[in-house]
């Protein structure tokens, strides 16, 4: 929440994008700024604010999580209040969907009451008939608010928002007149309210609605004004003004739409009955669930399969790391005259890690394109309905499918997405389950290893099995938590059936490019440093530098890993310092496991000599579950605090240990 505090230059302007979930705020944000944020056709995809510089200016546009009203903020809704109260916001752009204008105008009225709104953007204008509403009338009723009709997914009229931000006047906050009694109380509060960036009228209404965020903010930050305000609050607190104010606003909205000639029967352009017919077909259990399973298998085949992503990854990997003709071979030749330690440090230490990351890009790209397509077309809400009945037995609702599917990309945003869960129980159970869902990085490590050991024909099948087993373990964990920690709580399921959408390749590639950029930013520095550290520990021993063909068992890494390999004996059936070193390297980032394995095995061919089938399966199982990476642990700590995070880490480590040990020794007994 404190990103803006770094930007205290008073000449820099800050504008807020406020609107309900799934109205197109993030799409508008991506068009108007040089930043990119994830866009999805499912509500509540944005869980934190995103800040970007408006193109060709030094001012900031802030994309906030979707909210429906400003009255009683909970969880991600507090972001908006934080920005309204703690920062000198210059203006608000309220984005409303033309499709659900009846619902969204409530927030519009509240934005006007803040005194900061100067632009009302009616988005998704293509979904309604031309001249369906008298927009001039609506603007008149809303104190002549500037209305821009846009279609952000086709970049229609979106840039007019910038002109409006800078040149349109702010709307008079007195847009709705409440009952005499309420107006009197508003007046009393306004007389004692301190000067805020928002209008005193809005602050007064928030007090009448008993908005605890506002009350706490004023009491903590304005001690001189607080005693007078508190005297009034004591009188108004017990009167239920919240529902009266709300009803007045809804009546006003009805009035606006009547005068603007709103006709529900002739409003929408999209063929809702046709969509309903398709949903009627797709939402049958025996069609929808197998279709979804088929789509999931297809996605993983495209990303990791023999004649698809896996093949492309192998090509990349060979082109970069092949010891006879790959790029590393040619770089090594170039440095042939340099001392051996420089050659080895540069090629194995620095480039080794970098090449592993670059080889991971094709499957990550394919995986995220597929996941983004699913999100964009509107399949996710249907899947959550299909799976709700099954998931409810495991303590979560169908909505958690969205969090769990996101976790297959990366656990960090999936944990943050859990904030929008319908109940605290579901949020916590989802967060505890997510580290058991293998993220793209773990899948890539497993996929690379299984291709080497089982061959590319069967490697991706092992990956699919690992994902299926991980999903089952996560569900069993959910069931356990539900029956133990949350016995008395029930889950709640409510999902918006978004419209089926076409695929917008421009938006998809922009979103995926953002994901790849984040992956590269994080991975390049972390993996390169981790790899360099491993190289140093591997090639420095008690007697100085150890060449690549030297005895690595004199190295510092050997001594550190050897000490830790004793507790790992049951898992590997042997004291294996190399595999232990890989597990240690994987703590900050799982990509380092594979790059370390290449280093300690002296190349991909060397990996085959370390593993037999038994050992490879138990190692991969251990990698899948042992400890979440540091960024995941940090986000978990922020969301569910240290006790539950520690429980999760303990369960992860114990599960990994027990499962891997069982698999190893069962395999050993069968193969004997």
């Amino acid at each position: 929440m404190s990103k803006l505090s770094k930007h205290k230059d008073i000449n820099v302007k800050k504008f807020l994008l406020i609107g309900a979930p799934n109205v197109g705020k993030s799409t508008i944000f991506n068009i108007l700024t040089s930043s990119t944020t994830l866009v999805s056709n499912i509500d509540r995809m944005t869980t934190e604010h995103n800040m970007g510089k408006i193109k060709k200016t030094k001012d900031y546009l802030i994309d906030l999580p979707g909210i429906y009203n400003l009255s009683h903020p909970i969880a991600e809704e507090k972001e908006t209040h934080y920005h309204l109260l703690h920062h000198d916001v210059n203006a608000i752009v309220n984005v409303v969907s033309a499709f659900s204008i009846q619902r969204d105008l409530f927030l519009t009225i509240q934005c006007i009451e803040t005194g900061l709104l100067n632009t009302l953007c009616i988005n998704m204008i293509d979904l309604i008939k031309t001249n369906a509403l008298d927009w001039k009338k609506i603007s008149q009723k809303l104190n002549n608010a500037k209305i821009i009709l846009s279609r952000s997914n086709r970049n229609k009229n979106t840039k007019k928002i910038i002109d409006s931000l800078y040149y349109s006047k702010k709307v008079d906050p007195h847009v709705v007149t409440y009952s005499k009694e309420i107006e009197q109380w508003i007046s009393e509060y306004s007389n004692v309210m301190p000067e805020l960036n928002i209008s005193k009228r809005f602050a007064s209404i928030m007090f009448l609605e008993n908005n605890s965020y506002f009350i706490n903010f004023i009491s903590e930050n304005f001690p001189k004004h607080w005693p007078k305000i508190e005297k009034i609050l004591v009188k108004t607190k017990t009167k239920n003004f919240y529902s009266k104010i709300r009803q007045t606003k809804f009546k006003f909205i009805d009035q606006i739409l009547t005068e603007a000639k709103y006709d529900n029967e002739n409003y929408l352009k999209i063929n809702i009955p046709l969509q309903n017919k398709f949903d009627h077909f797709f939402l049958k259990k025996w069609i929808g669930i197998p279709s979804f399973i088929f789509i999931t298998i297809l996605i993983y085949y495209l990303a990791f399969g023999t004649y698809a992503g896996g093949w492309i990854q192998q090509l990349f990997s060979e082109a970069l790391t092949n010891q006879n003709w790959g790029l590393s071979h040619w770089i090594s030749k170039l440095l042939a005259n340099a001392p051996d330690w420089i050659n080895s440090m540069f090629v194995d230490g620095i480039l080794g890690g970098l090449f592993v990351i670059l080889a991971f890009i094709p499957p990550i790209f394919i995986l995220h394109v597929c996941i983004t397509i699913i999100q964009q077309i509107g399949l996710l809400s249907r899947v959550s309905i299909l799976l709700d009945n099954i998931l409810s037995k495991f303590g979560i609702s169908g909505r958690s499918v969205i969090n769990l599917l996101t976790a297959f990309g990366c656990n960090v945003p999936a944990i943050m997405l859990a904030r929008s869960s319908s109940s605290k129980k579901e949020q916590i159970i989802s967060i505890l389950m997510i580290p058991f869902i293998p993220c793209a990085t773990k899948i890539l490590v497993i996929s690379s290893l299984s291709n080497i050991i089982f061959g590319s024909m069967y490697g991706w099948i092992f990956v699919l099995l690992a994902i299926a087993i991980s999903g089952s373990i996560a569900l069993i964990l959910g069931l356990t938590f539900s029956k133990t920690l949350f016995r008395k709580s029930k889950t709640f399921f409510c999902v918006e059936m978004v419209n089926w959408n076409g695929v917008d390749l421009r938006v998809i590639f922009k979103s995926v490019w953002q994901i790849i950029k984040c992956f590269l930013k994080k991975a390049v520095l972390t993996i390169t440093l981790a790899n360099l550290l491993i190289w140093t520990l591997l090639h420095v021993g008690t007697q100085g530098y150890i060449p690549s063909n030297g005895n690595l068992e004199n190295s510092l890494l050997y001594w550190v890993s050897k000490a830790l390999s004793y507790p790992m004996w049951p898992v590997f059936g042997q004291l294996n310092w190399k595999l232990t070193a890989c597990l240690i390297a994987g703590l900050p980032a799982k990509e380092a496991i594979y790059s370390t394995l290449i280093q300690v095995s002296l190349g991909i061919e060397g990996i085959k000599t370390i593993f037999n089938y038994n050992l490879s399966i138990s190692f991969m199982i251990f990698v899948l579950y042992y400890i979440p990476c540091f960024p995941t642990i940090k986000v978990m700590f922020d969301e569910i605090h240290w006790k539950k995070t520690l429980i999760n880490i303990t369960i992860s480590l114990s599960s990994a240990y027990l499962l891997a040990t069982s698999v190893y020794w069962l395999g050993y007994c069968f193969c004997k």
């Binding site: 909210i67 429906y68 009203n69 009683h72 909970i74 499709f99 659900s100 009846q102 619902r103 409530f106 529902s243 709300r246 009803q247 809804f250 529900n264 409003y267 929408l268 309903n276 949903d279 009627h280 939402l283 049958k284 259990k285 809400s381 309905i385 709700d388 009945n389 409810s392 609702s397 319908s422 109940s423 605290k424 709640f492 399921f493 409510c494 999902v495 918006e496 059936m497």
Partner: protein, 82 residues
């Protein structure tokens, strides 16, 4: 199930009908808040769609937006047929 004021629980028996919300009887304030946010408040008219897909969920239309809720959760919502 009727109460003494002739309000009924929101169930699948009301498929195809338009109802007006009378009360939300959830003990969990978070659930109540999330429903009120999307417009499920007293006095609002909701159409119970007859999508006839599953008996365990209800498709409700409110302000042109379609929501899907579990029927067991809807039993905490009192309505009257319009």
């Amino acid at each position: 199930m009727k109460n003494k004021n002739c309000f009924i629980k929101l169930t699948s028996k009301l498929k195809g009908k338009q109802v007006e919300i009378v009360a939300l009887n959830f003990n969990d304030e978070l659930i109540k808040h999330k429903l009120e946010n999307i417009g499920f408040i007293k006095g609002v008219k909701v159409k119970v769609l007859d999508n006839n897909i599953s008996n365990k969920v209800l498709h409700l239309q409110l302000f042109n937006v379609q929501y899907v809720l579990r029927e067991e959760n809807c039993k905490f919502i009192d309505v009257k047929v319009v």
